[in-house]
Symmetry: C2
Subunit: 459 residues, 2 copies
Amino acid sequence: MSTPLEPDAQQRAELNEQADRFLEEWYSRVETMNASGEPLTDRQISDLMEPPREQGRDFARILDDLDLAGQAGILHPSSGHMSYIPNGGLYTGAIAEQLAAGLNRYTGVAGAAPGMTAIETGVTQWVAGLFGMGESAAAILLSGGSTANLTGIVAARVNRLGDHFDDGVIYLTAHTHHSVAKAARIAGFRNDQIRIVPVDADLRMRVDVMEEMVTQDTESGLRPFLVVASAGTTDTGTVDDLEAIGAVAKRHELWMHTDAAYGGFFVLTERGRKALAGIGESDSVAVDPHKGLSIPFGVGALVVRDQNYLLDANYGRGAYLNHEEVTQGLRDISSLGPELSRPFRGLSVWLPLQLHGVAPFRKALDDALDVAEHGYERVRQLDGIRANWKPDLSIVAFGFEDDTVGREAMRRVNEDRVTHISSTEVEGRFILRLAVLNRRTTIEDVDHAIDMIQKALIG
Amino acid sequence: MSTPLEPDAQQRAELNEQADRFLEEWYSRVETMNASGEPLTDRQISDLMEPPREQGRDFARILDDLDLAGQAGILHPSSGHMSYIPNGGLYTGAIAEQLAAGLNRYTGVAGAAPGMTAIETGVTQWVAGLFGMGESAAAILLSGGSTANLTGIVAARVNRLGDHFDDGVIYLTAHTHHSVAKAARIAGFRNDQIRIVPVDADLRMRVDVMEEMVTQDTESGLRPFLVVASAGTTDTGTVDDLEAIGAVAKRHELWMHTDAAYGGFFVLTERGRKALAGIGESDSVAVDPHKGLSIPFGVGALVVRDQNYLLDANYGRGAYLNHEEVTQGLRDISSLGPELSRPFRGLSVWLPLQLHGVAPFRKALDDALDVAEHGYERVRQLDGIRANWKPDLSIVAFGFEDDTVGREAMRRVNEDRVTHISSTEVEGRFILRLAVLNRRTTIEDVDHAIDMIQKALIG
């Protein structure tokens, strides 16, 4: 029998019971969960793609499908997940999403949901206050790093170039996340408006060369307006020299956007604050709660030095004079970003932070730094390793004297499924990386992967 | 005592029990819920904005805060909500969000979550197939109509104008939703690249005038490339003459983007299909599952005639040759839109459609057409009404011989809180509107509002 669109109290209780039991089945084995699953067959894939039918199906069968769907791929909640940028998620984040969707309120305009806008504004102000960007700093929650980078680039474009931006120039490095160049294209820039600044041996932007390029472009009649710093890079976790970039940005009136989607929340730790010194010089910072805070996927943030930057770029009606328009001190969230209707993302960040407090998030990030340091020290002692960078934050990246051995090491680690790691390339050479950010990841997980790498090195 | 980041089985059960009970409290009174709530005090607002503390708080207190926050503003689940574009939400949509966030998997790349990518691809293909846009039609789920319009405009820009688009021209009307012009600005267009085409007495785009403007702009050396049709408008629910727009678009090689964020899913009904005749001529269509399908806020869709349009505009690495890159027949969702990391939106659409079947959604939309027709007939019989447009879909919009009376009528209806309605302006005159889309809205709700309007008219 189909479940009606309006289930009654009894049906609601049953649906909840089944859904909670389903999640419990997953969470009861989260501590022993492999980092990657078994592939699905083509037949299973095509079954999952079946379109909805006129009549509904049994919830239990639907949950079976979802369970099957969840088996394959990379299992983010697993402690062994160290590939790409891991996000272990939060059980209480899922509860927040259920509550937000259950209440289903429109949070684009303060008047439509003043209490919820207050919750979201309060927690985004807390995020905005973490980076030392001054009293006027403000933030907006978006779907992730890509939309945060896009919103930052558009704010920079509007603020520094105005309506005609054909001659604007953007500076980044080969290690800048590719979502930045993608966002620049969406915002209307051509590839030839993007300069790739070389990096030094530590993979940091050559700030001196960047300044030379800026001078040269200015002399050619172009308009350098935006430098994108990384803190840290997705590839190797490298943090650019933010203080030096900030100084050049100031000298040449460039907008400094820092992509700290991965590394930004390390400001909650003492070591992280040191590594990120100078981030307060940024005009905008992208930082993902769904990375550093383990909030479930779908919540990024953009912090700007001045809320007016967001209003100028996004206020739908272009009515600049209405910048003073507030409801009980609250801004319409839709006036600060590209979206009008949107999910109530604020709850997904606010509820876990209120419930757990900031302390355990801070500790989890601090632990990740320890685990990465341990990984680095162990890799140092391996034979056959080259280019073993000391982690600025929590990504352990290193090359092999023989790239073939490196590829074989990765294959063996991932074939085992207990841990999952990924690779990148630096100057055409294979680089293996262990990204520690899932708070469940321990020294044992890192040791498991490195033991297997060691075996591959021995042959 | 703070809840740890990793609650144990007992704690998980307790958290669920409290969250489910909280939602049950809201849903048990959904049928008698007022459409708008009591305002919060400034003190309550500032309490809700409190930043997180180092230590956590009790979940019960947090739920009290959320309950308070939910009281004020416009209550979307209420049957009396007929302002703006109402979305009643779905209890089972909230369960889908809990499950998606609980599993917390990365759905940007097919290889990371093949089963979930299959689920999302299957249901987006179903959406893409509803509009008669041909065999190659494809879709992507985004956060809402704004990002869908943005993604459509960028696809049009890349496809029709290439890298230099300084001379491109966009055609829309004064009734086009303002998110379209906002999206155009984000995509890099200046206001002077946007032409406002006049509308006829029925508020539809004057397609003949649009064609004249296109010809004139072409003769001036500009490049007309995009016409935006509405189906229907947010203001009055008006559907532009899509067939006529399609014919002109074809003749002048314009990209036709149809903003059907509000009205698109009426294609599920016979009357809706008639009203939307010609939508299949579109190159792209924005349609919001979080409007016509009652999916909780945060899920819009963009449908395009050819998936390559999305790949050309969004493939991050600009590697056009890699368009053939698929995993078990599945595209990386991140290659089709602006986002890399993103929530698993597919589940929020797939689960309710699988569980309830398509039939009740179809019926709910058909019922909305009936309720709106009833409202229109009742308004016709009122004295003192002008400009009472016959609804193309489900929005009843009408003016008053005396605008002051209209404003007073709206004030009285909304003061009563049982129903909530909103207004717009057409040619400087006040227009009241009853937007029927919440599937809980009945003839009784509409009658309640119209009875009060009638009283205001009598004086």
